[in-house]
């Protein structure tokens, strides 16, 4: 049954904070960094007001924040945190440890360009640097998706077949600081959906002592990594079931990908995050003049839904893949993945890579239109093109 929702005008950061309040984790350890700060500021206020009874651990760095999260999760706590950009980079070492130790937790990432030069605005260089860390990665188009994805992420992370940490990405400022319509579920509905946390082999279970994080050399390390790879495959299998349960409550869909006017489209943009919304706006406009254009939005980037993307793009004439980060000396991350996914299909579309929006450069409807126009005119070139870049 669809739950009765409350309509509010809030930012993406506040949407995260509300999801955290309703999940009511045992431990949140975090360190402030723009543009993540309003998430923790609002959540800490909820805790101070008695609306959540989380142990908020204010640490001296992000490295310590993730370390505290690892410790708390290993002890058996339900754990959440939030960070951005250089904060995530500073966590990097422990981000891998959280995943390889199979510790479920949810981390909100408010995407911001990595230094240098120093920049506080949105791009995806921070999260893309973690794409091989073993975390599940969800990307959100708007504040509503931030809210619902955070709730979904907790359930997904703690699934006994999965037991992996999840990053929920929202675009810095564009979503995190923008006020939009958001429908909030009743507290008890969220509480029931995420359920009681049943820790898997917690350290604090002194009747059954176990060891976390021991030395693991060439005798077993490889087998443990294999288990981690299998866990990601399990995550892919479990996701649709969890998503279906949340859909039943919210009435919204949560597939790995979202197809927007894609069925009969000949020319397609593939993107993720807030730019997907702007592309939808342009698709609507161009459809009015009879152009067969569509959008494929990637919602889950890890595990990468390659097969689903290949099926959706099979037989299309031309596709532009938009990346808000670069991979220096190689193809941009999303482009490289999409191209690889298309290798096995019969009717491969022509592909074009575009990099856009680095360091918060605005992604406008004109940029999306330019990408579509070039696809339709057959203007392709080697390497990546740029949208919104001065010569």
């Amino acid at each position: 049954m669809i739950a009765e929702k409350t309509l509010v005008a809030i930012t993406g950061a506040m949407a995260s904070a509300h999801a955290m309040r309703q999940i009511n984790p045992d431990v949140v350890a975090a360190y402030p960094i723009t543009p993540q700060t309003p998430i923790m500021m609002n959540f800490a206020q909820f805790v101070a007001d008695g609306l959540a009874d989380t142990e908020v651990v204010t640490v001296e760095s992000e490295h310590s924040a993730m370390s505290a999260c690892v410790g708390a999760a290993a002890a058996g706590a339900r754990v959440m945190t939030a960070t951005a950009a250089n904060g995530l980079a500073l966590m990097h070492e422990i981000v891998y440890i959280a995943a390889s130790t199979r510790l479920p937790m949810v981390m909100s990432i408010v995407n911001r360009a990595l230094s240098g030069p120093i920049n506080i605005h949105c791009d995806h260089s921070d999260t893309m640097a973690e794409r091989d860390s073993g975390w599940i990665q969800i990307f959100c188009e708007n504040a509503q998706e931030v809210y619902e994805s955070t709730i979904l992420a907790m359930k997904w992370a703690e699934n006994e077949k999965v037991l992996l940490p999840v990053m929920v990405n929202q675009d810095g400022f564009i979503i995190s600081h923008s006020v939009e319509n958001v429908e909030i579920l009743p507290d008890d509905v969220v509480k029931e959906f995420v359920g009681e946390h049943v820790p898997h082999e917690p350290l604090l279970d002194v009747e059954h002592p176990i060891t976390y994080g021991p030395l693991d050399l060439y005798d077993y390390y490889f087998e443990h990594k294999r288990q981690q790879m299998e866990a990601m495959k399990e995550a892919e299998k479990e996701f649709p079931k969890i998503a279906a349960k949340l859909s039943a409550i919210t009435g919204n869909e949560y597939d790995f990908i979202e197809s927007y006017k894609l069925d009969d489209a000949e020319y397609v943009i593939v993107t993720l995050g807030s730019s997907a919304g702007t592309v939808k706006y342009v698709v609507d406009e161009m459809r009015e003049t009879g152009k067969k254009v569509g959008l494929l939005k990637i919602r889950v980037f890890r595990p990468f839904p390659g097969k689903r993307i290949a099926e959706a793009l099979n037989g299309k004439k031309a596709v532009a893949v938009l990346d808000r980060s670069a991979s220096f000396g190689a193809e941009a991350p999303i482009y490289a993945e999409v191209k690889s996914a298309l290798y096995t299909i019969k009717e491969r579309p022509i592909l074009q890579s575009y990099v856009y929006g680095l360091g918060g450069r605005d992604f406008t409807p004109d940029h999306a239109k330019t990408a579509f126009d070039r696809l339709m005119k057959g203007e392709f070139f080697e390497g990546e093109g740029y949208l919104g870049l001065r010569d």
Binding site: A9, N142, H177
Partner: protein, 190 residues
Amino acid sequence: MEKKILEIRWHGRGGQGAKSAAQIVAEASLGAGKFIQAFPEYGAERAGAPMRAFTRISSNKITIHSAIEHPDVVVVIDPTLLSENILEGMKEDSILLVNAVLPPEEVKNKVGFKGKVCTVKATDIALEVIKEGRPNTPILGALAKIVDEISLEDLKKNFKNMFEKKIGTQRVDANIKAMQKGYEEVRVSG
């Protein structure tokens, strides 16, 4: 399907309440059943620095997530920011609303804008009614007068909801009175 989105761009200085004004208008419209967006443009945030904020209002879901390039309405909260730069992206049928003691024709000549120009002595009203130099509530009242999609009653109701706890009934009432006065005293170019 009605596709039109009302787009408002706000110009002020850090600390003058442009961000809040953008949000108050958006929230009032949300209360009236609309889809909304309100967001500031962040640069180096500091008091006194020129800044912009944006509001979108629509009957349909808003998916676009970029800065507003071709605003229907431009609101200038600080008259010292008046220059040709303010006109960037404005269309002939856009409306320019300025907090100024000057009559609209003079502002029109000063910035060289061909469309409709409105002025309101928002700072004077604020000093007189609220006893503070915060021009954003009288500006909001003026906006309700000149833009059909924005209702003065919704603005008042929403302002009360948003700020009563924060600033108390007395100051809320003063601000609402300032809104009313801005609504009544806005001057429109011929």
